[in-house]
Subunit: 61 residues, 6 copies
Amino acid sequence: MPVIQITMNKGRSVDQKRELVEVLTRETARILQAKEANMRILIYEISDENWANGGKLGVDM
Amino acid sequence: MPVIQITMNKGRSVDQKRELVEVLTRETARILQAKEANMRILIYEISDENWANGGKLGVDM
Amino acid sequence: MPVIQITMNKGRSVDQKRELVEVLTRETARILQAKEANMRILIYEISDENWANGGKLGVDM
Amino acid sequence: MPVIQITMNKGRSVDQKRELVEVLTRETARILQAKEANMRILIYEISDENWANGGKLGVDM
Amino acid sequence: MPVIQITMNKGRSVDQKRELVEVLTRETARILQAKEANMRILIYEISDENWANGGKLGVDM
Amino acid sequence: MPVIQITMNKGRSVDQKRELVEVLTRETARILQAKEANMRILIYEISDENWANGGKLGVDM
């Protein structure tokens, strides 16, 4: 704990993901006074036909 | 807000997804008196070996 | 299947929730050609200090 | 109800998934005194660049 | 990993939850050949007006 | 998009949550080159009898 789940569109590099989990783990642990070692981050990548803002699919934007 | 997450088996067309997010956004906003523009929908597609009803995998039904 | 999860702020009436699950189940089953009886909807109510748009908490809007 | 969601790394066989959903459904229904037929299990498989323990990506372990 | 999320209706005792997480962790680790120490289980309890089967709220069943 | 969901134990102050959503939104937008305005964060607070590490409930640690 805490467990962070990130849902985002596909296409980010491994380097971006590496920086993302490092920074989010460090900052969350600092702010919540949690242990970094206990934190888990899960990333769910979805294509642009699988999300919508305001009723409009990502592929239609 | 609200955020709607839909987990369903693979194989629907983009047209079905387009209608789904339009209708669910409009109806949810109407019933909850929320702003359509603020709504988010996320669709997670999983294969038939990754869900089960009553302890039985989708591939075994 | 499908399973729909809705995260929204607290404060809606049972009547609103009843209409919401009826309409979303019926419309989703119709569009995806799924059986209504197999559908599940889960609602997660969170307070205004537990969600943020654009980095700003709900309580600060 | 209940609905169980499992996020795990890719690579398990259908046989492992079949045993997993059978056992988890049976044990959960027994302990919670729920009906097996009403239970749902959803499995989300993610690659090793999409999860992190303690701020470190799975691909870097 | 894996991370298991359980959504269920309110009202189970701490003893039931204790047995549930012990058994699910042990069985999942055994079947998936994962380390028990790395597993996480998260339980989300919701009231009967916040879930629906087949378009019908739990409070109406 | 992206949508970030955080599950954590209860007891953090509004100030901690405010800092958390500000920092996570800003850092995620920077790293993923996403628009801050489109980001959503949802926080799920659960009590210590509703999560487990390695098969052991939070209340038993």
